[in-house]
Amino acid sequence: AQSVTQLDSQVPVFEEAPVELRCNYSSSVSVYLFWYVQYPNQGLQLLLKYLSGSTLVKGINGFEAEFNKSQTSFHLRKPSVHISDTAEYFCAVIAAGNKLTFGGGTRVLVKP
C-alpha cells in the first residue's frame, strides 16, 4: 500500500524568505508524485508533478520539488515567498490504480 507523510503541519515564514515543505512517501512500486495547493475557499490546484526523467521538477508560481528515490522524498521549495502563497499544500502519490493518496497537508502562513 502507498502512503504519504508530510512532516510539518504548519510552517510560518516571513515574506521573501525561502520555504521548504517536506514530503516522504512509501510504496512497493514505482510512483508518480504531485504537489497540490489549496487557497482559502478554493479547490485543489496542481502545483507540479513528477512522472519520470529529471528529478528536479519546476511548477507554477516559482515552486520546485526534487524527487529523491533513495530517501523516498519529494520536498517542495520556493526561494522567496509572497503573501499570496499563504495556503495549504498537499503532497500526493499514485502508485497503482487510479487512487491518488494525499498527505496530511502543510499550512503555510506568510507573514509580512
Binding site: 508518480y32 504531485f34 497540490y36 475557499n41 478554493q42 479547490g43 485543489l44 490546484q45 496542481l46 508533478k49 512522472l51 498537499f90 500526493a92 499514485i94 497503482a96 490504480g97 487510479n98 487512487k99 491518488l100 493518496t101 494525499f102 498527505g103 496530511g104 497537508g105
Partner: protein, 117 residues
Amino acid sequence: EPEVTQTPSHQVTQMGQEVILRCVPISNHLYFYWYRQILGQKVEFLVSFYNNEISEKSEIFDDQFSVERPDGSNFTLKIRSTKLEDSAMYFCASSQQGARSGANVLTFGAGSRLTVL
C-alpha cells in the same frame, strides 16, 4: 480555464437524511472521482468512476454511498442516511485519462462542505 463545478458549496442536514452532492466535470474528461476531507484530517479517496461504472472504491465507500452519472454532464454522490461522521468537505475531480497514466492529472472542484447535525 475549464473547471470542475460543485454544488452546493455548503449543506447542513439532519442525521439520517439523504444528501446528494452534485458535480459538473470538465466536458471532455472521462474519469471521475470523489474525495473527502474531514476537518483537520487528510484528503481521502472515496471512489473513481469510468465508463458508467465504479472502477475503484475505498473501504469508506460503503453501502450508504452511491455515485451516478444521470446525464451527460452531472456526476453525483449520494449519501443515503447521513451520520455525524459524514461531516466533511467533499471534493469532486475529473481527468481525461486514468490517474495512473500520469500524463493527465486530476482537476478538482472547490468542494462541498457537508455538516450533519
